[in-house]
Amino acid sequence: MTDIALAPPSLDLRHMVRRKLFPTPLSGLVSLIGIALISWLAWALIRWAILDAVFFGTPDECKQAAGACWAVITTRWRLMFFGLYPYDEHWRSAFGCLTLIAVIVLSCIPWFWTALRISVLWVVSFTIFVVLMRGGLFGLSVITEDKWGGLALSIFIFAGTSLLGMPLAIMLALLRRSPLPLVAKLSGLFIDTVRSLPLITILFTVAILLPIIVPGLAGTKITRVICGMAVFFAAYQAEIIRSGIQSLPVGQEEAAKALGLNYWQRTRKIILPQAFRRALPPTVSQFAISFKEVALVIVIGIFDFLASGNAAYGSGDWAFAYVEVYAFMAFVYFIFVFSLSRYGAYLERRMRVGK
């Protein structure tokens, strides 16, 4: 009679390595070549990015060094983060930007997921951002929107797009499910039309064509761009929300009706909260896409993060350091989008238990 194992067999490290990497001589050889290649790449990268890199200094010092020239970032980071915003007022842009980042993070906390809390949070923080950036109140000097720029502007455009786009998306999704055929058809037509247009044509239209077609149009270029991007975002997000709504069992709405809840109570308390949970993975990727799409505004002459990065190396002295600038910008984008997708994964784990 054999003993019954009470725990899975524990494998020591040497055993594991042998089993996973060197099960046969050929596999062992492939493993060795692979390890050598990865080590060589990692070493080359560490030497370039850290050991031989110049973190502070002049362009000339950089040119003499073999490694990366991070000095371009340490010298020019303010331009990349704040664009053409007046140098002495950069703290305002920094605080505004941090407010928006904070509110994006706070919106991720389930406690804020009621219509009231989330709208108060966004309206208050947006007001703070605009007052800080534009000034004209509390003794702050007025700085017009054409001077806004850099990462602060990119985050502002993204936040504005989400803030306007999400309610619009919910509205479009609900209208498309309306029992009145005309309303449903019109909403569907609107969504499909917007989805069939490239974002870049929408940007050109709102930034350049619209002021020509409608002279005396209110709003600055940035506001119009945010509106255009919000409509684009809403068209896609509306379909994501609708897919969430349609995946709900019909019994949910029937139970809510039977309890006497009216349309808005059912929508607010029963339908939308569950639809959003179900549509979470595509919603997270839609946010990631819109964050990266903000970089497109460079083509209509808005000085966003990408444009500021171009300017940071494009002024003669630092022209050789474009790789470092782009590597840094890629890193910043990575941090934003990677945290977003990690957050999405956390939410999915959390919801698996029914919360």
């Binding site: 069992p249 019994g251 949910q252 029937e254 139970a255 809510a256 009706k257 039977a258 309890l259 006497g260 809840l261 009216n262 109570q265 308390k269 029963i270 909260p273 569950q274 949970r277 238990v353 029914g354 919360k355």
Partner: protein
């Protein structure tokens, strides 16, 4: 006794298919009615018409003196007084048991939270699961979920309760815990209209048993008469099938 529900000459169509044919039924206050019949006979459709989960095309429905028509005010008024329990429980999975129970009283009856929670706990005790109040529906067994669904409906203090095959989706060992709750509710004088295949329950609490087939009411009788001396051939066939197993 005044009529709680009065249905006259009801017709209901799904496209060209006629689901209800000239159905008339009166349920007086405090009466317990069990509706049975083969699958597709229109019994669920009939009780779903009473709170406008289905729309009827001809005939009239009067619930507690309110005529059910397209007026949303009338529909809302009727739904406030009519509770419903579904085959698939239909608890709201994103809310705790307690939240499921206080939602409608707070939103529809504007009951303050403290009072609504007190009432919810009262009814959860009555269905014997107060200790589950903070759990989510997904953490409960089918029988427990159905008892919560009954408590949730009772929290609206309804005058009439509709049961749409409340035990059909349950594992056999959980059926009796749900039926026990329904029996005690019946003893307290609730007006109940139950679509069910539980003939023991019908025998025990029903004032009258209705047999439906192909969208029509075939036979209506008190349970002893209904089970011991069925009048119609189709009733006899149905009973022999249901009682045989």
């Amino acid at each position: 006794m005044p009529a709680a529900v009065s249905i006259k000459n009801l017709d209901k169509f799904y496209g060209d298919f006629q689901a209800l044919r000239d159905v008339s039924l009166t349920v007086t206050e405090g009466e317990k009615v069990v509706i049975c019949g083969p699958s597709g006979s229109g019994k669920s459709t009939l009780i779903r018409c009473i709170n406008r989960l289905e729309e009827h095309q001809a005939g009239s429905i009067d619930v507690l003196g309110t005529v059910l028509d397209d007026n949303t005010g009338h529909i809302d008024a009727i739904r406030r007084e009519v509770g419903m329990v579904f085959q698939n429980f239909n608890l709201f999975p994103h809310m705790t048991i307690l939240e499921n129970c206080v939602l409608a009283p707070m939103l529809v009856r504007k009951t303050p939270r403290a009072e609504a929670e007190e009432m919810a706990m009262h009814f959860l005790k009555k269905v014997h699961i107060p200790e589950q109040a903070m759990k989510y529906p997904g953490e409960l067994s089918g029988g427990q979920q159905q008892r919560v669904a009954i408590a949730r409906a009772l929290c609206m203090k309804p005058k009439i309760m509709l049961f749409d095959e409340p035990t059909s989706a349950l594992d056999p060992e959980m059926i009796s815990e749900v039926l026990d709750v329904m029996v005690s509710l019946a003893r307290e004088g609730m007006t109940m209209i139950c679509v069910t295949h539980e003939m023991g329950f019908a025998r025990q609490v029903a004032d009258k048993v209705i047999f439906m087939d192909r969208g029509q009411i075939i036979e209506t009788n008190p349970p002893t008469e209904f089970f011991d001396n069925p009048q119609h051939d189709r009733t006899k066939t149905f009973l022999s099938q249901v009682l045989a197993h």
